[in-house]
């Protein structure tokens, strides 16, 4: 029973190649089941096939068939403990493009559930999910945002707490605006208005988020009705100044200016209850949080190594288990045959006592060797101990 991994990821393969071998969950599950004891993990950053007791070549062929070309020099292969360690790092988000991203843990779990793997793969994937969860709950690696748009949403949450029901005004309907809006919306905010120089573009984006389009001239009216303002126009000068901001507001107003040149007069940030972040501020915040992710990554690696050690111990213990089982079976066989010789000469009570006593003697006698063998299994001596036990008690001959 061997564990092997064949795959490619963002580390070694360009997106043009990765997209050809990427499968959806159903496709990955089907591929894994067609190979046998296998799990196929396919995300936008990687496609990896984990195999239990199968020839690696079947996975190579499957991936090359998907790619439509030879993958020599692109595929990586790992076996046994190295494969397990890699999976644990993947599940923990440590091998991801953005260290600590959390989506991968769900993808690992889904890949495992979509396949029909054997006990070894079952064990290693369950452990991967455990260590992934541990990394997420016991480190803060995934807490901090890794992009400007997610940092903007996280900063808004620092002001308002829960963003559910908070109203957002988007000024500019470009790609960056859309990303920021998506991040805010994913936290429950409502994109209430989209304002743009071209009203048609605003209408299209507003429809996507369930908001309403707005003329740039109507900004003053909308400002009184929103909590968060995101601007990303290509206007050559500021489109909002302190005088445009309603002065009698009870709730704070959070401005995110991701345009260059800036859309908002910096003096807005000095108004009472107003908070203003421009692109430089957001990038500085992201740089700081990525630093935090890297620092937390070191702790997460420690958890991964611990889990890999546990897997290694479990694998090693498997080597001595058959020897322990044979030894116990042999001892039980001797006990039963000796008891059979005396059972006609003894009363039922005496026989019951004798059975109990001999069983206890056997258990006590075998307890220490069993423990010692399991301990030895964790070290490199496990196989030697198992061989010694088989030799000393004649278990090999019996097996033959």
């Amino acid at each position: 029973m061997t564990l092997a991994l064949v795959g490619l990821s963002h580390h070694v393969a360009p997106v043009a190649l990765r997209e050809r071998v990427t499968l959806d969950l159903d496709g990955a599950g089907s591929l894994a089941r067609s190979l046998g004891d296998a799990v196929c993990l396919s995300t936008c950053n990687r496609t990896e096939i984990y195999l239990e007791g199968l020839d690696e070549q079947v996975a190579v062929s499957a991936l090359e068939q998907l790619a439509g070309e030879s993958l020599d020099g692109v595929l990586y292969r790992m076996q046994e403990d190295a494969a397990a360690l890699h999976l644990f790092r993947v599940a923990s988000g440590l091998d991801s493009l953005v260290p600590g991203e959390g989506e991968i843990l769900g993808q690992v779990r889904a890949a495992y559930e979509a396949a029909d793997p054997g006990p070894l793969l079952g064990r290693v994937f369950r452990q991967a999910v455990v260590v992934g969860k541990r990394v997420r709950t016991q480190t803060s690696i995934g807490e901090s945002p890794a992009s400007v748009s997610s940092a903007a949403a996280a900063l808004a949450a620092q002001v308002f707490g829960d963003l559910r029901g908070r109203r957002v005004l988007l000024i500019g309907a470009g790609r960056i605006s859309e990303l920021a809006a998506a991040n805010l919306a994913s936290r429950g905010a409502h994109i209430a208005y989209v304002a743009n120089r071209t009203l048609e573009t605003a209408r299209e984006l507003a429809r996507r988020f369930g908001g309403q389009e707005l003329e740039l001239g109507d900004l003053g009216r909308a400002l009184a009705d929103v909590d968060v303002v995101v601007t990303s126009t290509s206007a050559p000068e500021a489109i909002l100044r302190p005088a445009d901001v309603p002065s009698k507001r009870r709730a704070p107003l959070f401005f995110i200016d991701i345009a260059v040149p800036r859309d908002l007069d910096p003096a807005i940030g000095k108004l009472d209850g107003c908070f203003l972040y421009d692109i430089d501020d957001l990038e500085a915040v992201v740089a700081e949080t990525l630093e935090l992710r890297r620092a937390e990554g070191a702790r997460a690696e420690q958890f991964v190594v611990e889990e890999a050690e546990r897997f290694k111990s479990w694998r090693a213990s498997l080597e001595v288990v058959p020897a322990i089982a044979s030894l116990r079976a042999r001892a039980e066989e001797i006990r039963s045959s000796e008891l059979a010789k005396v059972d006609r000469r003894m009363s039922e009570d005496a026989l019951r006592t004798l059975e109990s006593v001999t069983a206890q003697i056997l258990n006590k006698l075998l307890h220490l060797p069993t423990i010692r063998m399991k301990e030895a299994a964790v070290t490199a001596d496990g196989a030697e101990y198992a061989d010694a036990v088989r030799y000393l008690f004649g278990l090999e001959e019996e097996a033959r």
Binding site: A154, A157, Q158, P252, L276, V285
Partner: protein
């Protein structure tokens, strides 16, 4: 017996005061708060038993002991969460220091009070609980001002060293005051009734407490938001501190 219970409470509060310093140890700090508060609860119960059911906290030191219990208890209910670590870093050293002062002043023994008056028990109990609430509200308001300052100043580590959101801090401070003001009102009313019964005179400490009551009452009535609310909560607290320090000098003698 009573004195024996003081030490575990003090050690647990001390542990919490230090453990809140880092994110990694803040969980241990929370346990320190919980265990310390339980130990202090046992201490208070033992004090009551030792005083034959009399009120053992009518001295300034005894009241301080009770104040610490209310303060930590309120913190346990409102703010004992990982994201309120910095509030814990403010509250727990204060609780630790005041607890030590209470012991030095003899407030943690079971000496019976020379008052056997139910009015006084309620008066002291209510006012102490209210003061504890106002202290916590002031801590929340201070945290609000600091967080607002960091957000306004666009601190780059704003997401690295996360404080509770402004909205949460504002709401919690308001809610703490909402609970504390009725206690202050009842405590004051009982004091006034008792004073008129015994023929006492209205002193400047009571006047100051009354002003604090007006400030907090105005706070609840107007429900200001943002920096204004935080400043008002802190202003009320300054009055409470002055009244409290002044009370220690005269009201108990």
């Amino acid at each position: 017996m009573v004195e024996v219970l003081f030490w575990p409470a003090l050690v647990a509060y001390g542990e919490a005061a230090f453990a809140y310093a880092t994110v990694r140890t803040s969980r241990a700090a929370t346990w320190g708060v919980r265990l310390g508060w339980l130990a202090q609860t046992a201490l208070l119960a033992a004090q009551v038993i030792g005083a034959d059911g009399d009120f053992p906290w009518s001295s300034w030191a005894g009241t301080l002991n009770l104040f610490v219990w209310f303060l930590v208890g309120t913190y346990l209910i409102w703010g004992c969460r990982p994201r309120f670590r910095l509030l814990g870093l403010t509250v727990m050293p204060l609780a630790f220091a005041l607890f030590v002062v209470a012991r030095i002043g003899g407030g943690t023994n079971s000496k019976a009070s020379h008052y056997g008056d139910l009015f006084l028990v309620l008066h002291v109990g209510m006012l102490t609980a209210a003061f504890a609430g106002f202290t916590l509200a002031a801590g929340l308001a201070a945290l609000y001002l600091w967080q607002e300052h960091r957000l306004k100043g666009r601190a780059h580590d704003i997401l690295r060293m996360r404080l509770p959101p402004l909205a949460s801090l504002e709401f919690l401070a308001w809610r703490t005051i909402l609970v504390s003001l009725p206690l202050l009102t009842i405590g004051l009313a009982i004091g006034v009734v008792r004073q008129s019964r015994d023929g006492g005179t209205f002193d400047e400490r009571e006047l100051l407490t009354l002003v604090a009551w007006i400030v907090y009452g105005g706070f609840l009535a107007a429900r200001p938001t943002g920096r204004r609310a935080a400043c008002l909560a802190l202003g009320g607290f300054v009055l409470v501190v002055v009244a409290r320090v002044a009370l220690a000098g005269s009201h108990f003698t």
